[in-house]
């Protein structure tokens, strides 16, 4: 009993508070006058080849309202959405009258800006009940886009100020960061000067660079994925081929040699065509990316085979003999003695092969795989500038240049660690202060037959 009494008491208090809040709220706000009707509020489309309104891009806002028959407007203020900029000078107020509003009369007005607010004071009040159009020029909505609503007030001849009813929202499309950068660049005087040189505009247009970067970047990722799978796949295949070519068994040697000669003797471009157009005819339709990866891996394995074979054969016969004399079998000799030394020797040529393979992903554009060149080509087609191809070139270079550098450092480090014949420091010392002596690793290379015989 007691509890329910308390509850009902509480309920009464809450209700009273809510009522009070409502009263206070309505008093605090200026009275709404719905006598004026906002008929239209739009922004001119500013999208390249589209009908949308982009943020952070210049547009013109057109606002139209029908005043009540009793209302004669003397002034208007507009509050634009936060972050919007506009120009005040060209603001135009038009009064439309007559049948179908065909008679137009520009109204002279004093326009001023303070922050997000545009204030328009008409030199002469508009006719009572007139249809008024306001055009605001140089409007840039915020880059984030969104639903933009113009609010404001209007003043009548009796000096009463009323709130404008909310105008229909303008849907503004968010502008991507590269587009913003591109737009910003386009406004810079140095960019304009730069682009006034036709050569620079055609090959190095900064605005196109900004927009094509992210697009070509997705192709770059695609190419990276392809090469990041294809190359590791090609390494064991190349190694197996190398062992086949050095095998005791004639049949394995023949298979390995034929494969390597055929693959290396024909253009990769042709191999791609044969795979991409031949397999579907044979009723096999693998996903293009997968097929691209396989073709590149198969191609690269032939080149890697020759790199590995040369690497293994460059190891002195003495290394094989030393391992054999310790009772190591062929596999142990290969894995613990020969391959570790070969790896160090083949790293430079393997890197060149990786660079070649990475560049060769561009050939997959011919069969529709969206890699770097393919993406660049689409933008080139849209803009008529070669700049996207330059961006594509940059995406190749950011991989290939550092790679060459890193490998160089890696080699230098290895050389200083275990030297061998490539140890520059060692060589120098020898010349300087040591008499001539047989270098442990300067023996003649070993022939496949010799390897097999051990």
């Amino acid at each position: 009993m007691l509890r329910s009494l308390q509850q009902s008491k509480l309920f009464t208090v809450v209700a009273a508070l809510m009522l009070a809040a409502t009263v206070v709220f309505s008093l605090a706000c200026p009275l709404q006058a719905y006598a004026l009707d906002v008929e239209k509020c739009t922004a001119r489309a500013n999208q390249d080849g589209g009908a949308g309104v982009l943020g952070a891009t210049e547009t013109r806002v057109t606002w139209e309202a029908q005043a009540d028959a009793s209302e004669s407007i003397t002034a208007l203020t507009f509050t634009l959405p936060a972050g919007t900029t506009f120009e005040v000078e060209d603001t135009r107020v038009t009064q439309l009258t007559g049948e179908d509003l065909m008679d137009r009369e520009f109204l002279d007005a004093e326009c001023t800006q303070s922050g997000d607010e545009l204030s328009i004071v008409l030199d002469q009040p508009a006719a009572a009940g007139s249809y008024v159009r306001v055009e605001i020029y140089g409007v840039r909505f915020p880059a984030e886009g969104g639903s933009m609503v113009l609010t404001g007030t209007y003043q009548l001849t009796d000096s009463s100020v009323h709130n404008l009813p909310d105008a229909p929202a303008i849907k503004v499309i968010a502008l991507s960061v590269p587009e913003q950068i591109s737009n910003w660049l386009a406004d810079q005087s140095w960019v304009q000067a730069w682009n006034s040189v036709n050569f620079l505009h055609l090959f190095f247009d900064p605005t196109i660079m900004a927009t094509s970067f992210p697009v070509v970047f997705s192709g770059f990722l695609q190419a990276l994925v392809i090469v990041a799978i294809a190359f590791p796949l090609a390494i064991p295949c190349g190694l197996i081929l190398a062992f086949m070519r050095m095998s005791k068994l004639r049949i394995l040697r023949a298979i390995g040699t034929t494969y390597v000669n055929v693959v290396r003797g024909t253009p990769l471009f042709l191999q791609i065509y044969i795979a991409f157009f031949g397999l579907p005819l044979a009723g096999i339709n693998p996903p293009p990316i997968l097929l691209g990866v396989v073709v590149l891996a198969m191609n690269s394995s032939a080149y890697l085979c020759e790199i590995f074979r040369a690497g293994i054969q460059s190891i002195s016969a003495g290394q094989f003999e030393a391992a054999a004399s310790l009772g190591m079998n062929r596999a142990q000799t290969m894995f613990y003695v020969i391959i570790p030394q070969t790896v160090r020797r083949v790293i430079p040529t393997m890197t060149s092969e990786f660079i070649l393979l990475y560049k060769d992903t561009s050939l997959l554009a011919a069969v529709g795989i969206m890699e770097v060149v393919m993406y660049a080509r689409t933008i080139v087609a849209a803009t008529g500038s070669i700049t996207p191809y330059i961006v594509a070139a940059i995406f190749y270079l950011i991989i290939t240049l550092p790679l060459a550098k890193i490998v160089g450092n890696f080699e230098a480090k290895l050389a200083s660690k275990d030297g061998g014949t490539s140890n520059k420091k060692n060589r120098k010392n020898k010349k300087k202060d040591q008499p001539q002596k047989v270098d442990a690793n300067d023996d003649q290379g070993i022939t496949p037959a010799e390897i097999s015989s051990l």
């Binding site: 003695v337 030297g419 140890n423 002596k437 047989v438 442990a440």
Partner: protein
């Protein structure tokens, strides 16, 4: 040790009528040789006489054209023999050291112990350090071959072979590639090895070493053994003209 006349000793290596040809070139023309346990046999002879080839036939780095090679009780020239099983017990030291350049001295000595003898890493390391200490290179254990002098490299190579507990050691001109001042250290290691009773077959041009250390000297020329005997016999009283020429030539040098 010097009592090489004890014929009852069991031969550890036995070579019977060994022939080896490279194409038309017959390098070994019927060689017979027995090496007993604990014996140090030094093979002398002019360049091209087939000394290396003979030595390399003992662990089948070269496959003989005909003839038989026995190691202990096994005929290693038989196709049924697992040669790697034999090679475990036959250490070999090369003229050009042939250390594995990508491994430190210690890892060089450990590798085959772990992979071939299947010793644990700890044991292999312990043995490696022991063998490196024996050749006086304990403090160079973590050096790579390129950071070692030729003499040091050759001593590591000897340690590497010894770590396998070989029953016989083959030396093919172990000091020929060394600067003169580095020869001593390697020969000292070989001498102490001989003193400890290791069976050794040594191809060398170091006459002093042959005279001091050999139980038996074998003189080869033209692919055959021309003369053999205890050092004092062969050096001081050579029977054959070719031996005389060779020794005279060497002494003159």
């Amino acid at each position: 040790m010097t009592d090489s006349t004890d014929t009852s000793t069991q031969p550890i290596v036995r070579i019977e009528n060994l022939h080896k040809s490279y194409g038309d070139l017959e390098v070994l023309k019927g060689v017979d040789l027995r090496v007993n346990r604990g014996e140090v046999v030094v093979i002398l002879g002019p360049s091209g006489s087939g000394k290396s080839t003979l030595l390399r036939c003992v662990n089948l780095l070269e496959v003989p054209t005909s003839g038989k090679v026995f190691f202990e009780d096994t005929e290693i020239t038989s196709p049924d023999t697992d040669i790697n099983e034999i090679r475990k017990h036959v250490g070999m030291v090369f003229q050009s050291f042939n250390l594995f350049p990508h491994l430190t001295a210690k890892r060089n000595v450990m590798l085959a112990q772990e992979k071939v003898l299947k010793r644990s890493k700890e044991e292999a390391e312990r043995v490696a350090m022991e063998q490196l200490a024996n050749v006086g290179l304990a403090e160079r254990a973590d050096h790579y071959p390129s950071q070692l002098s030729g003499g040091q490299q050759q001593r590591v190579a000897i340690a590497r072979a010894l770590a396998m507990d070989p029953h016989v050691m083959l030396f093919d001109e172990a000091t020929s590639a060394l600067d003169p001042e580095l020869v001593r250290g390697v020969l000292d290691v070989m001498k102490s090895l001989a003193r400890e009773g290791m069976t050794m077959i040594v191809v060398t041009h170091e006459m002093g070493f042959a005279r001091d250390v050999a139980d038996r000297v074998v003189f080869m020329d033209g692919g055959v053994i021309v003369e053999e005997g205890i050092p004092s016999e062969v050096f001081d009283n050579p029977q054959h003209e070719r031996t005389k020429n060779f020794l005279g030539h060497i002494t003159l040098k």
